[in-house]
């Protein structure tokens, strides 16, 4: 972008502005505080821009090499994003820049402490939070520079009018062509009539009615693609700008595709497992086997073997001989680490308060982990010693993490199943590698998951999320226990084993456990809302689900939800990022996403194996 070279003038600046939402490439900048500028470029076709710069540029701050990331709505950029640009890509923008010409509407919320810009295609371009005071002055400046009209139904929403003649002509044309419909309803005639007189006001007033018309009578919609696209865009813009922030949803929100049932399969059997290994004992089609486990879990008598793969102890492509060798190495490695703490002298321990604290905590937790299970019951049970030894050795393996409450819950079923100290340790390591962020000192991982759960639930059940927000429960803390130990406290031992092995496959998407939460919450929606539960009752109700959940039913539902999300037209990059789906770039409009983004190979395989399994099962 050559803009940085042209002369620019700063017209306005305001500091203490936090970036809340932006396109995917700014993921590292979210929640950073910075300064917002309005700049004017003397010699450029996009003259005025809104720019945001974080206060502390800690990433790649090569001052000489200014990289400007322009947030625009030009669709050519989206090609690069469909290649699934990783969030921590090497291109680190230092400055978020929005051309004035790309701002189609903006709104304030949260007592004018928040400003959201929309690109007019159902997507938020970016959203800023004003930490010191509000954005009143900025709005005044913006309205002085852009031609805007406040939306009739929402005085906080401003529609930007860019090129009156062009846009009016476009709309005029499309609505004029609507006249050719057979027997259009009177509202539409009236709309078209008054549209000529007062184009913008009429548009806003009647969009809702048009929504109904367009959505309700598809058989009458014999209009060409251009018109449909134009209408759809305007409608989605209207809907999305009204579904953000603290406001009631008054426009029709985009509908999710129909929920389909994905019945559970049978557990992976010993015979199937054997057939999928070659003569050397190598698993040939790893993805297929994972998928079978995802669909049906593992037969209990086979878990002993398969869990070692699922928990990355054994590489999937290893041969029998390689695994034998690995076992020896891992055995030595384990006992080396175990000796490190076993040999610690009293003086060393006295001088190492962190270690003492962890040891103390493990001692206490081991004595209260699943003691009602036969395997851990009774005084002086040797299995408690194993539990203790493994957790102590884990401290030596991962000093940074150490021991955090909840870990003994995660180890308990693994040890119970494997009944071998070394194997259980390495499988536990594998499990911890998958969910260690649950145990962050600052709880960042848990907070992020709770936030992501809120986002996903909002996509599936906006009404429920709205309810939770209004009842002090938008922080989703009532799901904390579910997430921290992956439902260990809510389910029976057998069920938790089934759920875990399904989740360990990493299918059908990242963070599928959050969709499991969404599925349960959706089931409980009625109970929560009809009883008008508040913060405490919601927490109690959720805690009391302990022992009442049906894992198979929950998984069926969660999988259905996954497909609904994946196929939703209004799917956003934010949701894609949570679920690890390929990003397509926020600028792209929904129609394009559907027609141009190719299915990833995984998804292809998913469909293929799913179909073949359906045949096997029936």
């Amino acid at each position: 972008m050559g803009d940085s070279l042209t002369e620019c003038m700063e017209i306005f600046s305001q500091d203490g502005v936090q970036l809340k939402t932006a396109q995917a490439s700014f993921v590292n900048y979210l929640n950073l505080v910075g300064t917002l500028y309005i700049t004017e470029y003397a010699n450029s076709n996009c003259r005025r821009c809104l720019e945001w710069k974080p206060n502390d540029v800690t990433v790649d701050s090569d001052v000489q090499d200014q990289e400007w990331a322009v947030v625009n709505t030009v669709q050519k950029r989206s090609r690069t994003y469909s290649e699934s640009l990783p969030p921590d890509s090497t291109i680190k923008p230092k400055l978020l820049k929005v051309n004035f010409v790309d701002i189609k509407s903006f709104k304030t919320s949260n007592k004018n402490r928040q400003l959201t810009l929309f690109d007019g295609k159902s997507e938020i371009m970016c959203c800023f939070m004003f930490q010191h005071g509000n954005c009143d002055y900025l709005i005044t400046v913006l309205r002085g520079m852009l031609k805007t009209i406040p939306a009739k139904r929402d005085k906080h929403l401003f529609i930007v009018i860019h090129d009156e003649s062009l846009e009016a002509a476009q709309l005029d044309k499309s609505f004029a062509e609507l006249n050719i419909f057979q027997d259009p309803p009177p509202t539409l005639w009236k709309l078209v009539k008054s549209f000529h007189d007062r184009p913008y006001e009429t548009t806003l007033e009647t969009f809702a009615k048009v929504t109904d018309y367009v959505y309700r009578s598809p058989e009458q919609r014999d209009i060409d693609d251009d018109q449909r696209e134009l209408l759809h865009r305007s409608l989605t813009e209207y809907a999305s700008s009204h579904s953000q922030g603290d406001y009631e949803v008054i426009a029709k929100v985009p509908e999710l595709p129909e929920r389909k049932d994905y019945p559970r399969g049978r557990p992976l059997s010993a015979e199937q497992w054997k057939n999928l290994q070659n003569h050397e004992g190598k698993i040939e089609d790893v993805e297929q086997i994972k998928l079978m486990i995802f669909r049906g879990g593992v037969a209990p008598n086979l878990r002993y073997e398969v869990w070692k793969y699922l928990l990355d102890y054994f590489p999937w492509n290893s041969t029998q001989a390689e695994r034998q060798k690995l076992l020896c190495e891992k055995n030595d490695e384990y006992y080396n680490m175990k000796l490190q703490w076993k040999r610690m002298t009293k003086v060393q321990e006295d001088n190492f308060s962190d270690y003492r604290e962890r040891k103390n905590l493990i001692e206490k937790d081991v004595n209260r982990t699943d003691r009602t299970m036969d395997f851990y019951a009774g005084d002086n049970n040797p299995n408690l010693q194993l539990l203790y030894d493994i957790l102590m050795t884990y401290i030596m393996y991962n000093f940074d993490l150490g021991y955090v409450q909840g870990m003994s819950d995660l180890l308990s079923p693994i040890l119970h199943l494997l009944k071998n100290e070394v194997d259980a340790f390495w499988c536990f390591v594998g499990f911890m590698n998958k969910i260690s962020s649950n145990f962050d000192i600052d709880q960042a991982g848990m907070k992020e998951q709770l936030q992501n759960l809120h986002t996903l639930l909002g996509f599936i059940e906006p009404q429920l999320v709205n309810y939770l927000d209004k009842h002090d429960s938008g922080n989703m803390f009532f799901c904390f226990r579910w997430l921290l130990v992956w439902f260990k406290r809510e389910l029976s031992y057998d069920d938790v084993m089934r759920l875990w092995e399904v989740l360990w496959t990493g299918l059908p998407c990242e963070n599928f456990h959050l969709l499991v939460c969404v599925a349960i919450l959706e089931t409980e929606k009625q109970a929560l809302m009809e009883n008008n539960y508040g913060f405490t009752e919601i927490l109690k109700h959720i805690n009391d689900l302990c022992g009442k959940l049906d894992v198979a039913a929950v998984l069926v539902k969660a999988e259905g939800i996954f497909h609904q999300i994946k196929e939703a037209e209004h799917l956003t990059d934010n949701i894609r990022m949570i679920l690890g789906l390929p990003l397509v770039g926020v600028q792209q409009c929904p129609e394009e996403i559907l027609s141009t983004s190719p299915d990833s190979p995984d998804e292809d395989l998913y469909e293929r194996v799913y179909d073949s399994m359906q045949h096997v099962m029936t």
């Binding site: 604290e357 955090v404 409450q405 002090d472 803390f477 130990v485």
Partner: protein, 208 residues
């Protein structure tokens, strides 16, 4: 003045891991003890109907996780608390040393209207166990330094002193709630510089 309708008292139990928070709550509410309680994850609460000073009240007793790193989530649970119960294990000196930080952290996160007058109650639990590491005297000294916090020595296992301790907790919580109600009733019209109308406050509770 405070109405005569049924009141809800929110009580938060805090203290290091494994000092007996869950056990104390269950002993008080269900009169049961088990050494198989699992470490608390997240938070949970139990309620109990009691009569305090001829008034029928519902105590909502909140049990939280004891490991320090989970405290950042506390703020959601501390909100609206009427009394905070600090618990330590009389056989574990470290759990006594942590009391200051538990108290401070609670005051920061719950940010009650008048931190210096917010009711705390201290429980030294596990008195049935030997050897004793923290003497009654030492615990009482700490309580004196903190604006005379009431102190009870309990055994959740044997049910020793648990009823008495929670009665004191309820009384303190009720007094706190009444003084808060008084504040609400008085402030809108005028700010009184004297505290003669505040029967339940121990000291000067005016924030001015």
């Amino acid at each position: 003045m405070a109405s005569r309708k049924k009141v809800l008292l929110k009580v938060i139990i805090l203290g290091d891991s494994s000092v007996g928070k869950t056990s104390l709550m269950n002993q008080y509410v269900n009169r049961k003890f088990s050494n198989q309680y699992k470490a608390t994850i997240g938070a949970d609460f139990l309620t109990k109907e009691v009569t305090v000073d001829d008034r029928s009240v519902t105590m909502q007793i909140w049990d939280t996780a004891g490991q320090e790193r989970f405290q950042s989530l506390g703020v959601a649970f501390y909100r609206g608390a009427d009394c905070c119960v600090l618990v330590f294990d009389v056989t574990a000196p470290n759990t006594f040393k942590s009391l200051d930080s538990w108290r401070d952290e609670f005051l920061i996160q719950a940010s009650p209207r008048e931190p210096e007058n917010f009711p705390f109650v201290l429980l030294g639990n596990k008195v049935d166990l030997e050897p004793r590491a923290i003497s009654s005297k030492r615990a009482q000294q700490w309580c004196q330094m903190k604006n005379n916090i009431p102190y009870f020595e309990t055994s959740a296992k044997e049910g020793l002193n648990v009823e008495q301790a929670f009665l004191a907790i309820a009384k303190n919580a009720l007094a706190q709630q009444n003084s808060t109600v008084d504040l609400y009733n008085e402030f809108p019209d005028q700010i009184k510089l004297t505290n003669t109308n505040k029967p339940n406050s121990n000291g000067d509770s005016c924030a001015c």
